[in-house]
């Protein structure tokens, strides 16, 4: 698009058949981001004027019609990212019962890796400093925070918030700050008090918001070793707010006490994920890895919006890459980020009901992918998804593509662990143990001997004691999850 004659639809990031409602919403979002009171980067005022102009034309049906007549035909090629869809079966089958189909979605950057600049960071470390963090954990956290501080580039913003019953800003978010002084402040952190995540998260959000900027990677890393009590709901609402302001959240839990389901849900609201740190020694490695992933961010989040189909239901969604995590099924699904060296990969399980199979072609999914792109102030045009499959009389003898097969074989293991956990939570310990025993059998046949042993050990615990060992459910969950990621990497080599 030339700057002289911009396509107003692209400027606002909407489809040409967008309703007035959608145009309005998209305009408000863009205007908030680019408002002259807020923006810092050069050229953003011009962009703001451009979206103003676009909205003026498109919000008026008469002017919109006139404008539409002057437009060249729509080019469906989305210039910034490319996406690819693989299916477990080439077609659906006319059947009198529900059937499953799996879909693997990959969204990758289209530009060459070399031409992309590395985006500046705006990161807040929100650290739990409750009494239980004392000793090794706190020492490692301090050392890593200082290491990260030293590794910053001039354009990066880094803040640190420590929380217990209340939150304290240790390092405020600012550019060109005195690093020596900040190192000293990190060193001085003392452990005391209990864990109240909401306070920490709120202070962290405030710090990130000070320098929030769509061209930065705005992210909160929450590190905790305990359960928060009573403020889970407030935290989740805060995370939802963060998602609308382009702020991502990742969780890291140390030891066995923290609530992994809560942390997963919290991070999931923004397309992030949680990680499990079983040994304080791993704090450094995981945090540095997370930082490197953030530096290579290409898009902060990909959101799948879809209209619920009457007879097709998304039953399960799991992100295989860049980091593994199951994804909550909502009308707006935060699928996760795209890294420059790791495209986003999500596996969907769809249930198709028989009543919809009278037609020859069935729409599985009708919606769009919205990519919020780092270092790109104008909205990225959404990608329209209209996924259809033919309905045949007999099943195709073709085996599923190897990529789906290998991803599914590992995901099956992860889901067996989920089932074991659900059964144990429901008090059905024999069933939980059986799931874990089955899991162990498969782990053994994949050569994962130590993990298989852990699974069997936990099966035994559940059978005899009707409880997991202290960190058992997390050990099994995060190791089977790691297996999924390992599988993706192996395949790429």
């Amino acid at each position: 698009m030339s700057s002289k004659n911009p396509d107003y639809y692209i400027v606002l990031g909407v489809f040409r058949d967008a309703s007035q409602e959608e145009i309005k919403r998209s305009y408000f979002e863009a205007a908030q981001r680019l408002h002259p009171d807020k923006n810092v980067a050069a050229g953003e005022t011009e962009l703001f004027l451009e979206i103003q102009q676009a909205y003026e034309v498109l919000s008026n049906p008469k002017r919109r019609n006139l404008y539409d007549a002057t437009l060249p035909p729509e080019i469906y090629d989305n210039s910034v990212v490319k996406h690819e869809m693989l299916f477990s079966r080439p077609n659906l089958v006319k059947l009198g019962e529900p059937q499953l189909i799996y879909m693997l979605l990959e969204v990758a950057p289209r530009e060459d890796k070399e031409t992309l600049p590395s985006p500046p960071l705006n990161i807040c470390l929100v650290l739990d400093r409750s009494t239980s963090m004392q000793g090794d954990k706190m020492d490692m956290v301090k050392a890593t925070a200082i290491q990260l501080l030293r590794s910053l580039r001039a354009q990066d913003v880094f803040s640190v918030v420590a929380f217990s019953d209340y939150a304290e800003v240790i390092v405020p978010a600012a550019l060109n700050s005195d690093k020596k002084k900040q190192e000293g402040r990190i060193q001085m952190m003392q452990t005391s008090g209990a864990t109240e995540i909401y306070n920490g998260l709120k202070a962290g959000m405030q710090e990130v918001r000070r320098t929030v900027d769509p061209s930065r990677v705005n992210h909160i890393i929450l590190l905790t070793d305990g359960q928060t009590y009573g403020d889970e709901q407030a935290c989740l609402e805060l995370a939802e707010q963060a998602a609308t302001q382009n702020i991502g959240i990742s969780g890291m839990g140390i030891g066995s006490e923290w609530n992994d389901i809560f942390l997963d849900a919290l991070a999931g609201k923004t397309g992030g994920s949680s990680a499990y740190i079983s040994n304080p020694k791993d704090i450094q490695r995981l945090l540095v890895d997370k930082f490197n992933a953030l530096i290579s961010t290409y898009a902060d989040d990909v959101v799948l919006e879809f209209q619920a189909q009457e007879n097709v239901k998304i039953n399960y969604a799991f992100r295989l890459q860049p980091d593994g995590s199951s994804i909550a099924i909502e009308p707006q699904m935060h699928l996760g980020p795209i890294l420059r060296d790791a495209p986003l990969q999500v596996l969907f399980e769809l249930i198709v009901n028989p009543s919809s199979l009278d037609e020859d072609v069935l729409t599985l999914l009708n919606g769009s992918l919205k990519v919020s792109m780092t270092a790109r102030p104008t909205p990225v045009p959404p990608i329209r998804l209209n996924i259809k499959r033919e309905v045949h009389i007999s099943p195709s003898p073709e085996p599923p593509p190897t990529r789906i097969l290998s991803a599914l074989s590992r995901l099956t293991l992860y889901r067996m662990q989920e089932r074991a956990r659900a059964a144990a939570d429901a008090g059905q310990f024999d069933e939980a143990a059986r799931h874990l025993q089955n899991l162990a059998t498969h782990l053994l046949s994949k050569g994962e001997q130590s993990l298989a042993k852990t699974a069997l050990f936990e099966a035994n615990n559940l059978e005899k004691m009707h409880a997991w060992s202290a960190s058992g459910n997390k050990d099994v969950k995060y190791s089977t999850r790691a297996l999924l990621l390992g599988g993706v990497k192996e395949k790429e080599k």
Partner: protein, 170 residues
């Protein structure tokens, strides 16, 4: 609906892996049922000496023994004149006479039914049963299903698992 051939769990049509036991349902050859007579089972593994250090060979009434070079254990062969060797794997109805799975057989690449060792008069005969990773005698690969005579002290490798044959003077 697809019924899992492993656990009989009913899965929805189109499923690729069994939701209950995790077995692969499609894109794989179907399993066939085999009948195995129970009389040929004998628990050899219970007679494994428990001590880890290598004991001087005293076969007792065994006509030969297998010395596991990695762990130093000795498995005496007695009672019958023919033994199949392999590893037991869960969910599979294959029961070799000598189960090598306690000795890292899976990691070493031993097949479930790997080879046969038998005594024929004064000769000891070894046959590879078409194993995936092959059988080597003193470094030479055997042709599957062809008899090969063994001598005292020969080194047999099932995949990467090395055994030395110790023959009692017959």
């Amino acid at each position: 609906m697809i019924v899992c051939s492993n656990c009989k769990h009913s899965n929805m049509a189109g499923a690729v892996f069994c939701a209950e036991c995790g077995a692969q349902l499609i894109g794989k050859d179907t399993l066939t049922t085999q009948n195995i007579t129970t009389q040929q089972f004998e628990r050899v593994s219970e007679r494994i000496p428990k001590n880890d250090s290598y004991q001087p060979f005293d076969g007792g009434d065994a006509w030969a023994s297998l010395h596991l070079l990695d762990t130093g254990q000795v498995l005496p062969l007695s009672m019958k004149n023919e033994f199949t060797m392999g590893r037991v794997s869960e969910g599979q109805p294959i029961m070799p006479d000598i189960d090598l799975s306690p000795y890292q057989a899976y990691a070493a690449g031993v097949s479930r039914l790997h080879a046969v060792i038998k005594r024929d008069g004064n000769r000891i005969i070894f046959i590879d049963l078409g194993s995936a990773n092959g059988t080597y005698i003193n470094g030479k690969r055997l042709t599957p299903n062809i008899e090969q005579a063994l001598n005292h002290g020969d080194i047999i490798a099932l995949g990467k698992l090395k055994l030395q044959i110790l023959v009692k003077n017959l």
